[in-house]
């Protein structure tokens, strides 16, 4: 009974957090892209456009769900459902932090741990292709069909280097469970260099990290691999015909996939919740220091405002950041917040990289995309796997 109650509470917390992240990720993306392109971005709804996601949600929910007359109805309605549900499932096995104690109950900051966790993620993400392929086909529209076909071909092709890039750090970790993968990356070499897969082991996994991230961009259909929805040639690709909540489902699926792939990158290569440097060097005090610094910066800008409304909004944000920083110093919540901070910081950095690259790179041509996957990424991942395997075998006890 206790188990069910704890699980339900955890599911509620993770779901609420995940949905908020998905909604605000879109705001962050629009803001970052805007600043990359020297624009302002959304700034009308709420201070700094912070209520923009809420406005978007209300808009999407209240819009008319239009069903074109020429579509295959059943598959047309099924496709967004498959896409979004497959995108949301993977979060259930992501470990956000270490074991914690809340009100006397000991539990992990993870919904569930599977002993084939990483394979589960691969399986679910490979099923996500159906959503896009079916959407493209059932729309009965040549642009949608082309978008759907492109997307499925791209996802199948890039799944190979992705899986091979995953295999190499798994050889070092020696387990498929996400929790144990993170645990195997604990500890430090020379007292300061973390034993994350990118740094340590018999063969530092820098190459497979890069291959994984590139293939991850392609798997999530992000720039520079966003050919399925290349708007200058395919209108909007596979979701051309969709409107209202069905369109929102695809949108949400894309962001959820992005979060999943960054979480998996963090767990496999960047040591999950393990801090960047040991607690003996004060890694527990970095989060509050960082938050205090951001608070001070906001306060300074609020006292010397560039725009009139900054005088009110920035000091309020500064207080929020100060309070968060103080929260990190409370001994009762510190063991919960610090690992989560490290996990969130790494995921946040990777998400920012995703957005940053979207603001920087142009789109691939389709034949370039395919030959890049098969002629460069796949052999590179294979060679990396061979070297890693050889070195792991040689150094094994």
């Amino acid at each position: 009974m206790e188990f069910y109650v704890i699980s339900l509470v955890k599911i509620a917390v993770v779901f609420a957090g995940f949905m908020t992240v998905l909604a605000y990720l879109q705001w962050v993306e629009r803001k970052v892209i805007a600043h990359v392109q020297v624009r302002v971005g959304p700034n009308r709804v709420g201070p700094h456009g912070l209520l923009q996601p809420m406005a978007d949600i209300i808009k999407l929910v209240t819009k008319e769900g239009f069903l074109p007359s020429h579509v295959h109805k059943f598959f047309y309605l099924l496709a967004p459902f498959i896409a979004v549900s497959m995108a949301l499932v993977s979060i259930s096995i992501i470990p956000f932090g270490s074991e914690i104690k809340v009100f006397g109950y000991t539990t992990w900051m993870q919904l569930t741990d599977l002993n084939v966790g990483i394979l589960f993620v691969l399986a679910i993400s490979s099923l996500g292709v159906y959503g896009i392929a079916l959407a493209g086909w059932s729309s009965n529209n040549k642009y949608s069909l082309l978008g759907g076909l492109r997307s499925s071909a791209q996802m199948i092709s890039y799944e190979l280097p992705l899986s091979l890039a995953i295999t190499a750090p798994l050889l070092i970790a020696g387990t498929l469970s996400l929790r144990e993968i993170v645990q195997s990356q604990g500890g430090y070499n020379f007292g300061f260099l973390p034993r994350w897969s990118v740094f340590a082991g018999p063969f530092p996994q820098v190459f497979s990290f890069i291959i994984f991230v590139i293939a991850g961009f392609a798997e999530t259909n992000r720039v520079p691999f966003d050919l399925p929805e290349a708007e200058n040639e395919l209108v909007a690709g596979f979701h051309t015909e969709y409107s209202s909540m069905q369109f929102a489902s695809f949108f949400m699926a894309e962001y959820a996939n992005m979060v999943t792939i960054t979480c998996i990158t963090t767990i496999l290569f960047l040591g999950g919740w393990q801090p960047l440097f040991p607690a003996s060097l004060g890694s527990n005090y970095l989060p509050p220091l960082l938050l205090f610094f951001v608070g001070a910066l906001l306060l300074f800008n609020g006292l010397n405002p560039r725009r009139r409304k900054d005088r009110f909004s920035l000091p309020v944000f500064a207080v929020v950041f100060f309070l968060l920083g103080i929260l990190f110093l409370v001994p009762a919540v510190k063991p919960i917040l610090v690992p989560f901070f490290w996990f969130a910081a790494k995921v946040g950095f990777l998400l920012f990289t995703f957005i940053w690259i979207r603001g920087t790179l142009p789109r691939f041509r389709y034949d370039q995309l395919m030959s890049f996957a098969w002629k460069f990424l796949f052999p590179a991942a294979l060679i990396n796997l061979l070297i890693t395997g050889l070195l792991v075998a040689l150094t094994a006890k």
Partner: protein, 166 residues
């Protein structure tokens, strides 16, 4: 709980299998087959073979069936128009099917007696580690021979596709 899931997914698997045959549109048939693969994966999971279950989803549902779907979409074939059934099918269909079911039931009843009942989660060697040990230990030769066989098939496909280009 185990029995509940077994019944649900066994029904889905059989229903999906029947649906593969009965559907007139190739896409519907292909998706029914995906449902069969998925429910088979759940049945493996119930038996305690986690690795096989995940491999089933990744390989069959995630890769092979996507390619099937892909080809069907590219060919853009429409729904099948029902052909008139021949007299032989009408007369012999049901008896032959019943005969086959009877033969299978007989073989099963001969080779598995009651002491060999299946237990949920009773299979303890389903982890990736034990599967790996089995493949690269006891079954190394069959494994390698199979991979050569697949390689031959791939080469054959490439050669055939090349001829068509010339």
């Amino acid at each position: 709980m185990d029995l509940f899931f077994f019944v649900v997914f066994a029904v889905v698997a059989i229903g999906g299998g029947v649906s593969v045959v009965l559907q007139t549109h190739p896409i519907s048939s292909a998706l029914s087959l995906v449902a069969v693969m998925g429910s088979l994966a759940v049945l493996y999971l119930l038996l305690g073979a986690e690795f096989i279950a995940m491999a089933q989803v990744i390989v069959y549902a995630g890769a092979i069936m996507v390619l099937f779907l892909f080809v069907i979409m590219l060919l853009n074939s429409g729904g099948e128009t029902k052909p008139g059934r021949s007299a032989m099918v009408k007369v012999l269909g049901v008896p032959v099917l019943a005969g086959f079911v009877a033969i299978i039931a007989y073989v099963f009843s001969l080779s598995f007696n009651d002491t060999l009942a299946v237990h949920f989660g009773g299979f303890s060697d389903g982890s990736a580690r034990s599967i790996g040990r089995a493949i690269f230990g006891a079954y190394l030769l069959p494994f390698e021979v199979t991979s050569v066989l697949i390689l031959v098939a791939i080469l054959g496909a490439v050669v055939l596709a090349r001829k068509e280009l010339d």
